[in-house]
């Protein structure tokens, strides 16, 4: 079974703090993704990566950056957290082929005060 793990299930941070969300997958997948999930808005893609050190902006990259130094790990960074970044963050991975299923982690619920 594919396993995608996220470093925290719940996080509480203060406005202006730098926040790191980590995601690790164990199936040697090329593609990794970060989404945020908000009620009524579904899943919105923040960034994705199709290879080590490669990254592409998704639909809502503002206020976020990412890092992929190793194939299995994809980090989402909030340089200066703001209250409008309070959300559920989901990581996913897939094989390189666009037809492939995405496998999701359990999510990190982030509250920015």
């Amino acid at each position: 079974d594919v396993k995608v793990t996220q470093s925290s299930r719940y996080l509480v941070k203060r406005t202006g703090e730098k926040v790191f969300l980590e995601c690790v997958q164990d199936m040697d997948h090329e593609n990794m993704f970060w989404y945020r999930q908000d009620p009524g808005l579904g899943l919105r893609l923040i960034y994705f990566s199709y290879d080590v050190k490669m990254k592409e902006k998704g639909d809502i990259p503002e206020g976020y950056s990412v890092s992929r130094e190793k194939k299995e790990r994809f980090s989402l960074i909030l340089e200066s957290a703001s209250t409008n970044q309070t959300s559920m963050y989901l990581c996913a991975s897939s094989l390189w082929d666009s037809q492939e299923t995405q496998y999701f982690g359990p999510g990190t619920r982030l509250l920015v005060l």
């Binding site: 593609n31 993704f33 009524g40 808005l41 579904g42 899943l43 666009s98 299923t101």
Partner: protein
């Protein structure tokens, strides 16, 4: 622009009722279509997917979906729902590398 529309945001059904959740997409290329489900407290997981061939696709737990190209639709169906089908359902279309998800439909099944 590519988009996915799910018309029903909240659906409440009694057990044994039939289910149909609507999904329409807007995408110019060859479509790959998916339905994902998120049970309470669990990960998002794949329910079923369509790439090509038979437009009627069967998935897990008795779900099926029909791709109707002329209507740009990929509706999800189940003839008889169970309490355990209570979940949030997401339709998605995929372009190059990138999934586009609908806003989701929350289904509540009353026992």
């Amino acid at each position: 622009a590519q988009s996915v529309s799910q018309h029903n945001h909240h659906v409440i059904l009694s057990e044994a009722a039939s289910l149909e959740l609507g999904c329409n997409y807007s995408y110019g290329g060859t479509v790959n279509l998916f339905w994902y489900v998120q049970y309470p407290g669990q990960h998002l997981q794949l329910l079923l997917k369509y790439f090509s061939g038979d437009p009627l696709v069967k998935g897990i737990k008795g779900f099926e979906a029909e791709f109707i190209k002329s209507k740009f639709s990929f509706n999800l169906r189940k003839p008889s729902v169970q309490w355990s089908d209570t979940a949030e359902y997401f339709c998605a279309v995929i372009g190059t590398y990138k999934y586009i998800f609908g806003t989701g439909t929350r289904l509540k099944v009353l026992a």
